[in-house]
């Protein structure tokens, strides 16, 4: 299990260090001559801490693996802005769990004090220690749901002195119970919920316009302000469900078949009853209060690719490149795409660029080695074009320019996967509000993920 957890700043200075197991740095201890236990622990700790700094943070090369083994000690690290979080172990731990835990740790910290920065960490170090004490015990991750943690973490949390006995046991049963993510007795005057279907569409296209790979990874984020312990049921146009239901009338199947989508795989927040999904493919749950990610999914079939990029790169002699890029929008003309940005990479030895574009603004950014073309809005079924002349400095570098792909960013008000929310039903048997009383909002946003066309 996790033997210790360290947080470093970009200089490699330790901001937080919490050791759970004695074996960290045991190697160093064995070789040490002196035998008093006090300084030894410190010594070992420092060894482990230094080993990571020297070998990873200050390493000359790019990091080659997020898991590093130094002197039989394994270091797992993730980086958030310029803060390094490192988990250390000497055992054969569950590696996936350690990373999941580190991410969760980041989420929890972000939920408490916002951005993870050196300043924020220093400002909240007592809180972090308290959190670390609670969410990891002897290196075993314990409950890490922010909602539950907020009920009993003393730093900036609820004042525990004034808790009654009932409150205390309520906390503990919630922290350990089946519904660890929601506390009882939540009341809202207005029961309201928001569903955001957020998709990122990824594409890799060959210069000839052949789709090499494309997939949509989507998330359904729910923000709920519901009273009591509401039982929710979520439905979407999942092909498997639609076909199962549509068996009765063939007509309906063919009609809805068009609108349903094939989901390759999906994962759910821990509040969703997985066994029920497995057997009936229905998504039922009691949601945490506030915002959470209900599900993630991935689709690869029948994706609506909102834009098509047609590149044309011509090398004119050794010192000149001519680039022409056409983008075509491919969705309903009534919809508007926003924040469109096309990034055309230029060689390192570029000396000057002339750009002409029909729409939006284009600029050569020398520091990024790219021409960045921005268009604020673009309706569906339209086309636009940019052409550029790139002057090159002559070099004697033998190696050819690698021609990185042209990438694109955008945002569209629909789900490129074709996913539609069919319903979200709410039942709260104990309180007297019904499904109809709940105000529901649904929004679809499709964004570009890695949307690249090779040139």
């Amino acid at each position: 299990m996790i033997g210790g957890l360290f947080i470093y700043n970009h200089k490699g200075e330790v901001l937080i260090s919490r050791v759970y197991r004695d074996d960290i740095g045991r190697q160093a201890a064995d070789s040490a001559v002196f035998n008093s236990s006090g300084p030894l622990l410190e010594e070992r700790l420092r060894n482990a801490v230094d080993a990571f700094r020297v070998n990873v943070i200050h390493a000359r090369q790019q990091v080659r693996s997020p898991v590093t083994n130094i002197a039989r000690t394994s270091f797992f690290h993730v980086k958030r802005s310029n803060i390094w979080l490192a988990a250390v172990t000497k055992q054969n731990v569950n590696a996936a769990m350690v990373f999941e835990f580190l991410y969760k740790m980041c989420d929890v910290m972000a939920a408490y004090f916002g951005k993870i920065s050196e300043e924020n960490i220093k400002n909240n170090f007592v809180l972090i220690y308290e959190l670390l004490d609670e969410i990891l015990d002897f290196g075993y991750p314990q409950n890490s749901e922010t909602g539950a943690l907020k009920t009993f973490i003393t730093q900036q949390g609820i004042k525990s002195q004034h808790q009654t006995k009932e409150e205390q046991s309520q906390i503990t049963s919630q922290v350990t119970g089946q519904i660890g993510w929601r506390r009882e007795g939540i009341k809202y005057r207005r029961n309201e919920l928001f569903l955001d279907v957020l998709e990122s569409v990824n594409l890799l296209m060959s210069p000839q316009g052949q789709v090499l790979s494309a997939h949509v990874s989507g998330r359904v984020v729910m923000k709920s302000y519901l009273s009591g312990m509401p039982e929710c049921k979520f439905g979407m146009n999942d092909k498997i469900v639609i076909e199962k239901q549509g068996k009765g009338t063939a007509d309906e199947t063919s009609k809805s078949g068009k609108q349903s989508i094939a989901i390759d795989d999906c994962t759910f927040h821990q509040c969703v009853r997985l066994s029920k999904f497995d057997s009936e493919r229905s998504i039922s749950f009691i949601p945490p209060d506030g915002e959470f990610e209900l599900m993630r999914y991935r689709t690869t079939k029948d994706i609506i690719l909102p834009f098509r990029v047609i590149p044309l790169v011509r090398e004119v002699g050794r010192t000149k490149l001519e680039v022409k890029v056409v983008i075509k929008s491919n969705f309903k003309p009534s919809l508007l795409a926003q924040k469109i940005e096309v990034r055309i990479p230029t060689p390192l030895n570029t000396s000057g660029v002339q750009v002409i574009c029909m729409k939006g603004k284009a600029k050569y950014k020398a520091s990024e080695n790219a021409i960045v073309w921005k268009i604020k809005r673009m309706a569906g079924m339209k086309e636009s074009q940019i052409s550029a002349e790139i002057e090159l400095l002559p070099t004697n570098d033998k190696k050819k320019w690698a021609r990185p792909p042209i990438s694109m960013n955008f945002e569209v008000p629909f789900a490129p996967s074709g996913l539609k929310v069919r319903y979200l039903k709410v039942f709260e048997p104990k309180l007297n509000y019904s499904d109809h009383d709940v105000i529901k909002w649904v929004r679809y946003i499709g964004r570009s993920g890695i949307y690249e066309t090779r040139c």
Partner: protein, 939 residues
Amino acid sequence: MTDSKYFTTTKKGEIFELKAELNSDKKEKKKEAVKKVIASMTVGKDVSALFPDVVNCMQTDNLELKKLVYLYLMNYAKSQPDMAIMAVNTFVKDCEDPNPLIRALAVRTMGCIRVDKITEYLCEPLRKCLKDEDPYVRKTAAVCVAKLHDINAQLVEDQGFLDTLKDLISDSNPMVVANAVAALSEIAESHPSSNLLDLNPQSINKLLTALNECTEWGQIFILDCLANYTPKDDREAQSICERVTPRLSHANSAVVLSAVKVLMKFMEMLSKDLDYYGTLLKKLAPPLVTLLSAEPELQYVALRNINLIVQKRPEILKHEMKVFFVKYNDPIYVKLEKLDIMIRLASQANIAQVLAELKEYATEVDVDFVRKAVRAIGRCAIKVEQSAERCVSTLLDLIQTKVNYVVQEAIVVIKDIFRKYPNKYESVIATLCENLDSLDEPEARAAMIWIVGEYAERIDNADELLESFLEGFHDESTQVQLQLLTAIVKLFLKKPTETQELVQQVLSLATQDSDNPDLRDRGYIYWRLLSTDPVAAKEVVLAEKPLISEETDLIEPTLLDELICYIGTLASVYHKPPSAFVEGGRGVVHKSLPPRTASSESTESPETAPAGAPSGEQPDVIPTQGDLLGDLLNLDLGPPVGGPPLATSSVQMGAVDLLGGGLDSLIGGPNFVAPPAAAVPPNLGTSMGSGLSDLFDLTSGVGTLSGSYVAPKAVWLPAMKAKGLEISGTFTRQVGSISMDLQLTNKALQVMTDFAIQFNRNSFGLAPAAPLQVHAPLSPNQTVEISLPLNTVGSVMKMEPLNNLQVAVKNNIDVFYFSTLYPLHILFVEDGKMDRQMFLATWKDIPNENEAQFQIRDCPLNAEAVSSRLQSSNIFTVAKRNVEGQDMLYQSLKLTNGIWVLAELRIQPGNPSFTLSLKCRAPEVSQHVYQAYETILKN
């Protein structure tokens, strides 16, 4: 309010100030002070001096302050064990606090304090907490048992905590169950034999129920524990699988991977004919692909695991090639792993796409990645025959880029392509040779040298090319040296006439001027092969190579099976068993996949046998270049050479031709001489595989002989002539190696050290093959026995008598000279048996004036015995005739310098005198051969 101000107190007298603040009456001030103390602790300052003051703050009902103090205690209790006792009372009291949060906090913290005295006090509170009414306390206490076990395992057993912990598996609260499982699993790991977890269908059922209800982390603990269970039959395995599959949709990747582990493991027990088996296979693919949309670090863990899964069950992901295409912005570690999996999934169906991708990657920036991409193209060529041509042309395109590392990598893979498809792509050799100069990496140089050696007959200037490498022989890496040695020997065997010098040069570089035992051994083997029987050498060195298999870099099947049991863990990330990176006894239990149950065995068809089964279809793995033995056996020896080494007359003629016409005349004196045995232990032949034993049969002639006659030691240098050093000795020849067995006796009153030995030039070029090694100083009246290996590659000068050897021995006192006569039979080589026809022709060919006749008197042996006794000294009976009651033995022998001696031995039954007629092109030796006969027969 911010905490960062606590970090800034660095002024002097800080400890003193803190002390005052800690003892303040105001709660707020105390709290602030403790925070400052903890801040100092974090940045590594020693604040242990404040121990008593901080402990004093412990008795408070303020939970916030209490937590801070506990934090301090965990850090410093160990350095102040005596004072830590002060805290015990508060701990014990806190364990009884009405607030469950405080009870849990106390028991949790106490477990973290690794001080023996405190541990004793921990037992009672822990016992109570394990049975606490509040689940939060129980779940904390469960982990505390594991903590205590880590400190004092015996105590945990004695106090019966293990049983209580087992009871908690049936707890009503899922988190308590999960923590109890985690604690028990950890404890069980250090007691591999104990049946601590005692998993049975009932307890498994409880775990599966808890699985649906506990936190994501708890699910991981339970799944990891389930993976250690072996169901009793396939039905049970299936029912567990059914209850585990829903976990594949969990948002937590670790839950998914642990579920995959359970399924992969239990699948082993399911029959492939089962519908459920197919369903399960289909269910596994999507979640694995989904893992690739996680954060990059998790992607890396997932990819390392997928790499294993793809090797174990390629069918799961065979249609998912595209998701492993590399994205431009992937971190390099993700790119490299994806590439690995792409190669594994490449098949005829998707090869066009894969190749297009790989070509794209080969133009990227990162050197490692580009190299791997180039290598992958080669692997594709080997794996998918239909694509080989396209791959080769892609590689040639890449070579044209002249980017140094691309060229080198391409050459390395082309070597393998040549081996996979012999006589197909050799036309590209010319292009490769153009790039010879740009190769600066050992692997590429070695590959190029291999190509030159292997195709020497097609490359006109092969000898020049190889010679150019030879110049800097000693600066090359071992890999290149070995390859160069082999390549030149190949070249020699293919073009013997022009390359003798070259081969001589490389053999002497390898055997005499190198410190590397592998290189020397290989050099000796070749040398000996060439000197004894070049035809056999040809068969061995130029033997047809086994085709290399399609799959490469596979993990060895038993290791793979073990790693499958470790899916999700570090072992699966490192692709090493835990014992390779975990210290001590923990986690070193070897795990293995469950065997398939009997019911399904019969229905299994051969082509669906699991990869781990010991079937003949197991793919060979291309040995890595570092694997020298494997390299030697596979590349150079190929299939074992069968049959007796010297079979037909034509073979023998060839041998004579090659040696006589080529080397003998060229070098005149000694040429290929069997090297000393020091490098080749005689019993090696039996202990190694058939390939090697055959090799040694070649050199030891008949193979059953142990060695020639050894005369008793005689005094060569009396003590009075050498200031107290007495040397006696004799010569031996055993399995092709000559040695001088010396006995040094110190008859002086002073200790002798620094021994060295040197020979004067002599008729047969005898020279020490190793320095004289007397390990310890020789004290007065002490005797040492030394066997000094000799070779016959020293300088040659004809001596009178012919077998005279002048020796100089040096020690710390002086240098002494003596001369001795060696029996000629130590120079008789093991392949001195001449073919009959050859014998006849040679006999006629040698002029009669070269014939010498001798009488051997008083020898009571019969023809049979004579023949066998002589044979053990390498005098071989070629034929036997009975003429008028007399036995005529026709014998042949060969000296180390290639001189043949033919003999006719006439034995009359009843007459102890034999007549020996010797015929030789160098009649000077006859006299000494006669003496050898005498000594051998009469002793």
